[in-house]
């Protein structure tokens, strides 16, 4: 450091301290989620070392929540573009039911059944996007209505009954076969996370999504086809929602008409919680994935302690509100900067 800068060494020193403190705060914010996850693991590890701190337990946590990870990754795409997709859980449930009905009731080969399930997701995205962009209706309303409509279809085609006996080819590929003791579906989710991360950070498409979500007018005047981007993001979330449904059907080997609906709130909680870390202030796939596992670890730990199932609702509901509050604080700071 040169003294020729004109400022006394002490002020330079102060400025440097301040900068490094700022740096520390930034880093804490960035990795806060991972730290929180580690803390949760440590607490339960101390309380129940013999059951909680075991590889099978972690393998179960990692594997069983792949469905939620995929659903959350689907959700952050339209969220980044500024739209909500409340039909996601309905798509998930419907697509698992489509597989069960086609495969079990009608004997359609599992490959075709999965394809049909994925098509329902894409189709839902097309319908959502049509009403949202063509008629300019708020996404919250459209996807709420479409989601409820889809749930009606699910109840209709299943006669409101659980259908079990889905082909073992699917179950094997999702949960039975393992790598390092962890079911394959975890690796599917991980691959997807990498893809979404790449698209978000390294492609023009990802940048356009971001600008559309931040300011539609700036995006439009910059030559971005805003409607097309929004529509595309809804089709992507529909597709990933149905993919989550495929994994769900493979995880349970069956489809029931309502349990999939409970994925909506955790997916939102993880999306917003994820936006407070890794790349703070933006919906990001790594943050979302880590947030899923942070939430699930907490819930698993509490249930190992013998606390009953209501804890799940307390945890997810609380996490959503806290996460949104945190991201509001982050944004508030960005605006003060601005």
């Amino acid at each position: 450091m040169s003294a020729a800068s004109g400022s006394s060494p002490s002020t330079v020193e102060q400025a440097r301290k301040k900068a490094s403190r700022q740096n520390l705060v930034d880093r804490l914010e960035r990795y806060g989620l991972i730290i929180a996850w580690a803390v949760v693991i440590a607490i339960f590890g101390v309380l129940r070392p013999d059951t909680f701190l075991t590889w099978p337990n972690f393998a179960t946590i990692l594997g069983s929540q792949a469905v939620l990870v995929v659903a959350t990754l689907g959700l952050i795409i339209p969220l980044t573009a500024g739209d909500y997709d409340l039909s996601l859980a309905s798509v998930l449930t419907l697509s698992s039911m489509v597989i069960a009905v086609l495969n079990v009731n009608y004997g359609v080969p599992i490959g075709l059944s999965v394809l049909a399930a994925l098509c329902t997701g894409v189709l839902t995205g097309i319908v959502n996007g049509f009403f949202i962009t063509y008629f300019g209706i708020h996404s919250l309303i459209v996807t709420l209505g479409v989601g409820t409509f889809l749930h009606g279809i699910t109840l209709w085609i299943s006669d409101s009954m659980t259908i079990s006996g889905i082909s073992f080819d699917l179950v094997n590929a999702v949960i039975v076969w393992r790598f390092l003791g962890v079911p394959l579906e975890f690796y599917y989710a991980l691959t997807l996370c990498i893809i979404v991360w790449y698209v978000f950070s390294y492609t023009a498409l990802g940048r356009r999504l971001l600008f559309v979500g931040r300011n539609r007018e700036v995006a439009r005047l910059s030559g971005i086809r805003v409607d097309r981007v929004r529509w595309g993001s809804l089709i992507a979330s529909g597709f990933l929602g149905s993919l989550a449904g495929v994994l769900y059907a493979g995880t349970t080997g069956a489809a029931d008409p309502s349990s999939g609906m409970t994925y909506l709130l955790p997916a939102f909680a993880a999306s917003f919680l994820g936006a407070t870390g890794i790349n703070p202030g933006r919906f990001n796939p790594w943050g979302a994935t880590i947030a899923v596992y942070f939430l699930v670890t907490g819930i698993t730990g509490l249930s190992i302690l013998g606390i009953s199932t209501f804890v799940q609702d307390l945890f997810y509901g609380g996490a959503l509100v806290i996460a949104v509050t945190l991201s509001q604080i982050v944004r508030g700071r960005e605006e003060r900067l601005a």
Binding site: Y202, R207, F211, G223
Partner: protein, 533 residues
């Protein structure tokens, strides 16, 4: 300047007879003087015009009356003959019997007429039982009295623009009813430019209402840019210039030219510069013809390579819509844009297509249309070149960052840190980033709307220089602005708009701040080259 006798200066009547009297009103913002010793008065049943250019102090004066600004010490104010302590508390104007109708009317379109009528009652009084029936009856009587065919239960969104303006005026008058019955004051309505977006026939309708309200005892301050309207509706008028009263006069004893001179500040000798000073014949690189859309009608323009053309006019004249129509940001109904011989129909134009045609737009509203404040300078500046500079995949490559660094250097963006959110920069530096974002594309047609709005003095010259440099490199520039000084500084030609049409044009040495102002205020009947008698 020859004014009719005895008309200069305000407050000629005895203070007691005036509804409103202001003495020695000054207002400074930091070092800048917005109002300087302004005095004037409004008599009973008088329509008093208030005129002046942008920045002459009109809106500051109105805001002092509204209790929005605190005037400098020394000012005195009488309302209805009694002196009132300054500053007026915010919202205190109502108790004084003053009511405002602003340009944007303050109506909520999705609510009914009746709800809008009562909105200020709801805002200020705790009412636990609203007598909707009685209020409805009262509203109906009110509308009948002023000849308005409005159903109180109709939503405002279904009303035509003129009926909305009428409703806003009736509401303002109605809001004074309690003050009227309580005190002797008959009330004062301040109409702050209610007409610029109304067609001529509708303005007559509005004037009829103003006359009826005056007949019923109110006084009106009528703020306007339109001299013809002021001549028609007002009894007297006051002109502000540079924060001072340039004159107060009986309207019927002056001509339009007198008023224009008073507004602009000196007798303008129009230099008869040789027209077609440069580059207008044959070598037009950008041509526009038959442009219709918004309030713009039948516009045709030729722009030579390297030429900077200013578009200006009074508010509501449509000059500010042209660039958005050409860019496809707002839809044109008809028209053709030709760039270097390539024809583009304007009705189906979109921003994406415009960029493809070599056309860029720097919008006036930087916060909402120009840049995303929470994203970095790098992100903002890179948006139009994601594919070209960074060839598709893998965009965070150092090439984008290097490009942003070069641009920050060339456009002197301070601080030179492309990772900063753009919102953290000063207005001037933000604008440099927006210019850099678009000029890096080497556009053939540059469309600017108020390019130095909210830009500090130092950066202003740099923005000018960036535009001039782009023009020197061969681009055609259209610059919409109400800042006449800026037009004088950068333009080769200036087109002046009135009621949606380009009615006159200044070129070369003719372009001075005051000549532009004069042409604007004279509007449609100032033919090119006409001299002031």
């Amino acid at each position: 300047m020859s004014l009719p006798d005895g008309l200069a200066g305000g407050g000629r009547a005895s203070p007691g007879g005036l509804v409103l009297r202001i003495e020695n009103l000054s207002k400074h913002f930091g070092g800048a003087r917005a109002l300087d010793g302004v005095s004037f008065g409004v008599g009973p049943r008088e329509v008093h015009g208030l005129l002046g250019q942008n920045g002459s102090g009109k809106s500051t004066l109105i805001k002092v009356l509204a209790g929005f600004h605190e005037p400098d010490p020394g000012a005195r104010l009488w309302v209805g003959g009694t002196e009132v302590a300054l500053p007026i508390p915010p919202g205190g104007f109502r108790a004084l019997g003053i009511s405002f109708v602003h340009q944007h009317l303050g109506l909520i379109p999705s609510l009914t007429v009746l709800e809008n009528l009562l909105i200020s009652d709801f805002a200020t009084e705790d009412r636990w039982r609203i007598g909707w029936k009685a209020e409805g009856r009262r509203a109906r009587d009110l509308f009948v009295r002023y000849g308005l065919a409005i159903d109180p239960s109709e939503p405002v969104s279904r009303l035509s623009p003129v009926v909305r303006a009428l409703l806003a005026i009736v509401r303002a008058f109605d809001q004074l009813r309690e003050v009227r019955t309580a005190a002797g004051s008959q009330g004062l309505l301040v109409l702050d430019e209610p007409t610029p977006f109304l067609p001529a026939a509708d303005v007559r309708e509005l004037f009829r209402l103003v006359r009826e309200i005056v007949r019923d005892g109110a006084s009106v301050i009528f703020v306007s840019h339109d001299i013809d309207e002021v001549l028609e509706i007002t009894d007297r008028a006051t002109v502000l210039r540079d924060g001072r009263v340039a004159g107060t006069f009986e309207t019927r004893s002056v001509t339009k030219d007198d008023i224009v001179r008073m507004i602009v500040g000196r007798r303008v000798e129009l230099k008869r510069a040789p027209s077609a000073a440069r580059g207008r014949s044959g070598d037009a690189r950008v041509r526009v013809w038959g442009l219709d859309g918004g309030s713009v009608e039948g516009l045709s323009l030729d722009v030579a390579a390297g030429e900077i053309i200013g578009l200006t006019g009074l508010i509501g004249s449509g000059y500010d819509e042209v660039v958005y129509l050409l860019y496809g940001a707002t839809r044109a109904t008809a028209g053709v844009l030709e760039i270097e011989g390539e024809r583009h129909e304007l009705a189906p134009m979109t921003p994406t297509a415009a960029i493809g045609a070599g056309c860029v737009l720097v919008p006036g509203d930087r916060q909402n249309a120009g840049a995303v404040g929470t994203l970095s300078v790098l992100d903002n500046v890179s948006l139009p070149v994601l594919e070209t500079v960074a060839n598709g995949w893998s965009i965070r490559g150092s090439r984008l960052a290097a490009n942003a660094t070069v641009l920050a250097e060339r456009f002197d963006v301070r601080p030179r840190d492309p990772a900063l959110p753009i919102g953290a920069l000063s207005g001037g530096n933000q604008q440099k980033v927006v210019l850099a974002k678009w000029l890096q594309l080497k556009p053939r047609l540059i469309l600017l709307d108020e390019p130095t709005q909210g830009v500090d003095i130092g950066a202003r010259e740099q923005v000018f220089e960036a535009v001039r440099q782009a023009a020197r490199d061969g681009a055609c520039v259209l610059c919409a602005s109400s800042d006449f000084e800026q037009l004088e500084a950068i333009c080769d030609r200036v087109a002046i708009f009135s009621r949606g049409r380009a009615v006159s044009e200044l070129a070369g040495d003719e372009i001075t701040k005051s000549a532009i102002a004069e042409h604007c205020y004279k509007g449609a009947d100032s033919a090119r080259g006409e001299t002031v008698p």
